[in-house]
Structure formats: structure tokens, C-alpha cells
């Protein structure tokens, strides 16, 4: 036991000696969460659009004003011809063009039918579809106003209640996802070099000839990083509550325990990478490659998992941040308890045990 203690002390000295790295390990999550928490949203705001109004009557003016008034659009200027639209798209400044054909209002009043043409720059497909949907909603709203004046029989009115996020803030989907991503990446990165570094510098031999058990080596490597991660969890939660104004509706204790579970899983993944790799370069490159894109794309916080083709939906189940994302979302925003997230917790626990066992198995006490 005393042996273990002195080894843990050694690891602490290793970690705390390198002040630059230490500062980075504490600073990174704080800066990144603040940065991404504010900057990332799947809403499309202030998109530059152009209006080509061939009709210039009261209806087109009202619709244009309505569009201008929403926070989603910045009406750049009015264009005269089709050619100008193409040129505006090519330079990449304009996202969408709205065309009102001639006699818009007249058609609307007399034929009860009028057309609006939308041309979207679909080279940025997310923006294009979102903007088109926004415009449809605005026009539908305008129509409803017209209808109201006409008082039409047999009307069904939908009464809509937006749960959990009534102001429809975009940040709410993203922050839990960003939290999961940052925690995973930093933890994997930290431990991924812990063992391979000793291999590369040659100090591993000294460890191996000692009577110290491999399990103890791994535990000793683990503990300083676990402590750092614990601080990082705290700072991440503080920022998301006080700077990003995300509520914690559920139990803080539960949130903490789940975060710890997740962090240990991530540290174990890094450990496995470290045991397998031959050089620090391979380990770091491997950990970045194995974590960055998969967590970003498959955890479901940017792109919905249910839209993916079946093979990817299956693959997404092995991404730990997917499960943690669901857990954080449920606890923080919905205020759910363990009865709701027990399945996800079980999956994470399974992953953690798996990675730890494999690491221990693979840890060789002989140098190749």
C-alpha cells in the first residue's frame, strides 16, 4: 500500500512539474466551452438574402417587412434580374433569394392564389433548408393573418406548448454535446501519452524490473488525471450554469457521479491507446483521430442520430459521448432522475469496465 502511495506521488510530481501542460489541461476546457457554448448553434441567424420584387405592391411589401423584422434574415438589397442573383451567389455572400412575380397581390386577391419563388444556395445545404423552412413559416403566418380577417368556418387551431426550452434557444441542444465532447477529448488525450511516454524515454524499463504490480502502475497513472478531470468537471458545470445560463434541473449529485463515470471511461480509452502505441506521436495522432470526428458527428448533438443510415446508427452506439450527451441533456434540462437514464448509465459502466479490463490485459510487462 505504501508502495502504491509513493508511486502515486511520483506520478503527481510528473504531472505537476510541467507547468505549461498543467495550465493547458486546466485552461483548455474552460476556454473551449465558453467559446463553443456561445458560438455554436444550429439556428441560422442574420443570413444575408436578396429580394427581387417584380410586383411591388402592398402584399409583397408586407411580406418583405415581416421577413426583415425576423432575426434570421438580413435583407441585403433588391435585385433587378436573374443574372445578378447568380453573380451574388458565386461570391458566396448571399444565401437565399426571394422572387415575387408580377401582379402578386392581384393574383392573391382575385385568383386566391399567388406564387413566391425561393432560390437557395444549397452548396451550404443546412443553411439553405433551414432558411427555406423559416420563410415558409413566415409566409404561413402572413396567410393566417389574412384568413383571420375573413373569418372562415370550421377552423382547427393548434395550441402549441414548447417544453423544456420555451424560448427555443439554440444553445440548449449544443451545450451538453459540447460538454461531452470536451471532456472525452481532453481525458483521452491526457492518458494516451502517460505510458507510451515512459516507453519512449526509456524509464519504463525501470518500472518493469521493479516488483511493482502492473495493476498498481495503471492505478498510479490514473489518479492524477482523475483529479484533474474532477476539477475540470466542476469548472465545466460552473461555466455552463453561470456563463451559459443552462439550468441544472435535476440532481447535482447524480450529474457529478455520471460525469465521473464518463471521465473514467474516457481515461481508460486513453490508457488503452497508450498501452498499444509505440511512440507518443502514434498515441496522440491515434487519440485525436479516434475521438474528434466520431464524437462530433456520431454523438447526435449536431446531426440527429435518427437520420443516419442504419450501419451508422449501430456504430454510434459505441461512441461513449452519445450516451453521456443523452444523460446530461436529461438531467440538466429535463430534470430527469436515475429512473430515466439508468439504461445509458449501464451502457457507460459496461464500456468503462471493458476498456479497463482490456487495458490491464494488454499491458505487457516485457519490452518488445
Amino acid at each position: 500500500m505504501k508502495q502504491l502511495f509513493s508511486f502515486i506521488k511520483k506520478e503527481f510530481l510528473h504531472v505537476f512539474r510541467d507547468r505549461k501542460t498543467l495550465m493547458l489541461l486546466f485552461g483548455l476546457p474552460v476556454v473551449q466551452l465558453t467559446l463553443f457554448g456561445f458560438a455554436l448553434t444550429n439556428e441560422v441567424k442574420n443570413a444575408k438574402i436578396v429580394v427581387a420584387d417584380y410586383s411591388k405592391d402592398i402584399a409583397t411589401k408586407q411580406i418583405t417587412e415581416k421577413i426583415e423584422a425576423s432575426k434570421y434574415f438580413d435583407v441585403e438589397k433588391s435585385l433587378k434580374s436573374h443574372d445578378e442573383i447568380e453573380a451574388a451567389f458565386k461570391t458566396g455572400k448571399i444565401k437565399l433569394a426571394i422572387l415575387f412575380p408580377e401582379n402578386f397581390n392581384e393574383n392573391l386577391l382575385h385568383l386566391h392564389k399567388a406564387q413566391i419563388q425561393i432560390i437557395a444556395d444549397a452548396s451550404d445545404i443546412n443553411t439553405a433548408t433551414t432558411l427555406t423552412n423559416y420563410i415558409s413559416a413566415i409566409v404561413a403566418d402572413y396567410q393566417r393573418q389574412l384568413m383571420k380577417d375573413a373569418s372562415i368556418p370550421l377552423t382547427i387551431t393548434p395550441e402549441i406548448r414548447m417544453l423544456y426550452n420555451p424560448e427555443l434557444k439554440g444553445e440548449h441542444t449544443f451545450i451538453p454535446g459540447i460538454m461531452a465532447m470536451i471532456m472525452l477529448l481532453i481525458c483521452v488525450m491526457m492518458t494516451s501519452i502517460s505510458i507510451v511516454r515512459e516507453k519512449e524515454l526509456g524509464t519504463m524499463e525501470i518500472l518493469l524490473v521493479s516488483p511493482f504490480k502492473p495493476l498498481m502502475v495503471i492505478i498510479a497513472k490514473f489518479i492524477p488525471y482523475l483529479l484533474i478531470s474532477f476539477f475540470n468537471i466542476t469548472s465545466i458545470l460552473l461555466i455552463s450554469v453561470y456563463a451559459l445560463e443552462l439550468p441544472i434541473k435535476g440532481s447535482i449529485l447524480l450529474l457529478y457521479s455520471e460525469s465521473l463515470l464518463f471521465v473514467v471511461t474516457a481515461l481508460a480509452i486513453g490508457l488503452l491507446i497508450s498501452i498499444q502505441a509505440q511512440s507518443q506521436q502514434t498515441a496522440m495522432f491515434g487519440s485525436l483521430m479516434a475521438t474528434m470526428l466520431p464524437t462530433l458527428l456520431l454523438s447526435g448533438f449536431i446531426f440527429p442520430v435518427e437520420n443516419m443510415p442504419l450501419p451508422l446508427r449501430i456504430i454510434s452506439n459505441v461512441v461513449p459521448s452519445k450516451w453521456f450527451f443523452i444523460i446530461v441533456k436529461s438531467i440538466m434540462i429535463k430534470g430527469a432522475g436515475i429512473s430515466v437514464v439508468w439504461k445509458e448509465t449501464l451502457v457507460l459502466t459496461g464500456m468503462m469496465l471493458f476498456f479497463l479490463t482490456v487495458s490491464l490485459r494488454k499491458f505487457k510487462i516485457r519490452l518488445a
Binding site: K90, G92, L154, P158, T282, V340
Partner: protein
């Protein structure tokens, strides 16, 4: 010039000696490029509905079947009470709950007015807006059908209808892969070049071999150039592989000139690799270099407009994107590949990246000291 040749020989040997690393550098981007673009679909569909039908009339049934025939919604469950439906939302089993009150059909016909209750999981704001938008238009549609059954033709027709036709230029089939593949490729090339390069000099520092170079008469700029070129060549190679994959696996044929893409890539790589070298000269251990480049790569990646639009970011974040080289590369890729933009359209991007390359490399050379 001869010195440079020998340096290059040395660097290439080192790279090719580590077979594991080489395999990673080549295989991982290919695999990721083959898999991940399939995940990137932003479209709002497959919205799952929980339905609480208290009426069980022919009207409510018609209404429900109309919703599901639209193709945007999938069925979660029928529940007998609104509370159960709410539970489904809480467990993420449903996105929207619809409650059709008792007497739906009767009230609609007798009192000309009837409400339907919708509860929407709004954590994902965009999904909530778009999903309720779809539902609202289905309700309107259904409403006018019923009206047609009850009211004389020309009277109900008084409701004015605005029809929206939308066309999507540059990517008419709304193929998400056309949008994501060029962007992901740009990111992967940056990742390989930037990380490998930033770890390189510091590795020699940590192992101690840098002393051996420092005592030779090799000039700083040759040393830096010798470190830079192998990664430049490797990244260009990976980029070429990526273009082939996007051509043959995704059928993406660049609308614009490929020469223009390569021209931009060559300048861009100097900027990214210069940045890697700069990080390398500032750090003492590979761990430090890694943490710093990890930070920058994350920021570059997420603030590049690859996943979320730059326009929606707050003003200060937009300023950061102005200094983000990856942003320019992704923009150029998308513009040239999808829109066929010419050199004239992207000249601004060229200028910015060229300046970045000059500044970063000069800085790296100045900061690299042969003596301590």
C-alpha cells in the same frame, strides 16, 4: 541546396520507418472520409409522435393517417392519457405529443371551432420549429379538406393561398454528402499536416537529437524547410486520395478547376505547417505541443462553418473565424467544388492565406534558436 536534400532524406526515412504511424496517416483519413459524410444529415425528418386520441372518431383517425402519410413523422406510441405521452417525451421516445380532445369531430362541426393540443420537446429549437411547422401545414391542409365537405365550393375558396416554390442551386438534389465531403476532407488534411508537423521538432528536442543538428552548420531556414516539405508532400498525397474518394465513392465532380484547388492547397499547407512548426518551437515536450495543437485544431474545426453557420455566431466569434485558416480552405473547397467559382471569386481567400503562411513561417524561423 544539397543540405536540403540530405535533410529531406533524413526526414523521409524517419517517417517511413514508423510503419504504424504511416499506416495511420494514410488509412484513417480514408476510412473516416468513407464513413462520416453519411452521418451528416441535418434534415428534420423522422420526428416521432406520441398520439393521444380521446375522440376516436372517423375525423380524428383521418387526421392521424394524414399526418403519417406525410413522411416526416414516425410513430412512437398511442397513449391513453396526456401524462403518458409526456413521459414518452421525457424519455426521448417522442418529440411531439398530440392530444385530440374528446368531441373533436362534434365540436368542429357544431361550433365551427376546435382546438388540438401539441406539446413539443423544444430542447432542439430548430427541430421544434420545423416539426411544428410541418404539423401546422398538415392541419391547415386537413382543415380545408373538411371544409370542402361541408361548405359550398366557391365560398370556402375565399381563403387566399400563397404557394412557395423553392429551387436549390448548386446542389439541386439537396445531397448532404456534396456539402460535407469537401469540408471533412479539408479538415482531415489540416489535421494530418498540423499535428504531425507540430510534434516533429519537439520530438527531436525531447529525445535529444536536436542537439546534433544544432552543432552542424545547417542554416535555420533549411532546417525548417526540411521539416516542412515531407509533411507538405504527405498532406498533398492524402488530399489527392480524398479527391479520388469523393469522385468514385460519392460521385462528386468539382465544378470548378482542380488546378485552382491544388494551388490553394499548396499555399494553405504552408500556412498550416508553419503554424505547427511555430507551436513546436514554443513547446518543450510532445505533450505540450499536443495540447496546444489540440486546442487550435478544435477551435479551427468547430468555428470553421463546417457544422454550424458562421453567420449565426456572435460578432466576437466571427472575428475569430477571420483568423481561422481552415475556414478559408473549407469555403474555397465548397465554392470551387460545388459552385465552380473562379480564381477571381476566391482571390481574397488566397491573399489572406498567403499572408498567414508568410507571417507564421517567418515567426517560426525567428523563434527557432540553435543555441539555448
Amino acid at each position: 541546396m544539397r543540405t536540403l536534400r540530405f535533410l529531406l532524406q533524413k526526414e523521409f526515412r524517419q517517417v517511413f520507418r514508423d510503419k504504424n504511424l504511416l499506416r495511420q496517416i494514410l488509412m484513417v483519413p480514408i476510412i473516416q472520409l468513407l464513413i462520416f459524410p453519411w452521418a451528416a444529415n441535418y434534415e428534420v425528418k423522422n420526428i416521432s409522435l406520441a398520439i393521444v386520441d380521446h375522440d376516436h372518431s372517423s375525423y380524428s383517425e383521418k387526421f392521424i393517417s394524414k399526418i403519417f402519410s406525410s413522411g416526416y413523422f414516425i410513430h412512437s406510441d398511442y397513449t391513453s392519457s396526456f401524462k403518458d405521452a409526456y413521459q414518452l417525451i421525457e424519455r426521448d421516445k417522442a418529440d411531439i405529443a398530440i392530444e385530440i380532445p374528446q368531441g373533436f369531430e362534434k365540436n368542429l362541426v357544431r361550433e365551427n371551432q376546435q382546438k388540438i393540443f401539441l406539446a413539443v420537446n423544444a430542447i432542439n429549437g430548430v427541430k421544434a420549429i420545423v416539426g411544428t411547422g410541418y404539423l401546422a401545414s398538415i392541419i391547415t391542409d386537413y382543415n380545408s379538406q373538411i371544409r370542402a365537405e361541408w361548405v359550398q365550393a366557391d365560398r370556402f375558396n375565399a381563403a387566399p393561398a400563397i404557394e412557395i416554390t423553392s429551387s436549390n442551386w448548386f446542389n439541386p438534389l439537396l445531397n448532404y454528402k456534396m456539402f460535407m465531403v469537401p469540408g471533412i476532407l479539408a479538415f482531415l488534411v489540416t489535421l494530418i499536416g498540423g499535428i504531425m508537423c507540430s510534434l516533429n521538432i519537439v520530438r527531436e528536442k525531447e529525445i535529444g537529437t536536436i542537439e546534433q543538428i544544432n552543432v552542424t552548420p545547417i542554416r535555420k531556414q533549411y532546417f525548417i524547410l526540411g521539416k516542412l516539405l515531407p509533411f507538405w508532400i504527405m498532406a498533398t498525397f492524402v488530399f489527392t486520395l480524398g479527391l479520388l474518394i469523393s469522385r468514385f465513392a460519392y460521385g462528386i465532380i468539382p465544378q470548378g478547376s482542380i488546378v485552382l484547388l491544388y494551388a490553394f492547397l499548396s499555399v494553405y499547407l504552408f500556412a498550416v505547417l508553419g503554424m505547427g512548426l511555430l507551436i513546436s518551437t514554443y513547446s518543450d515536450t510532445q505533450q505540450q505541443a499536443m495540447s496546444i495543437s489540440f486546442f487550435f485544431i478544435m477551435v479551427f474545426n468547430l468555428l470553421s462553418g463546417l457544422y454550424t453557420p458562421i453567420e449565426s455566431m456572435p460578432a466576437w466569434a466571427k472575428v475569430i473565424t477571420d483568423f481561422n485558416p481552415l475556414r478559408y480552405f473549407i469555403e474555397v473547397m465548397r465554392m470551387v467544388v460545388l459552385k465552380g467559382s473562379s480564381f477571381h471569386d476566391v482571390s481574397h481567400h488566397f491573399l489572406v492565406i498567403f499572408l498567414m503562411a508568410v507571417v507564421l513561417n517567418t515567426w517560426a524561423i525567428l523563434n527557432y534558436r540553435k543555441t539555448t
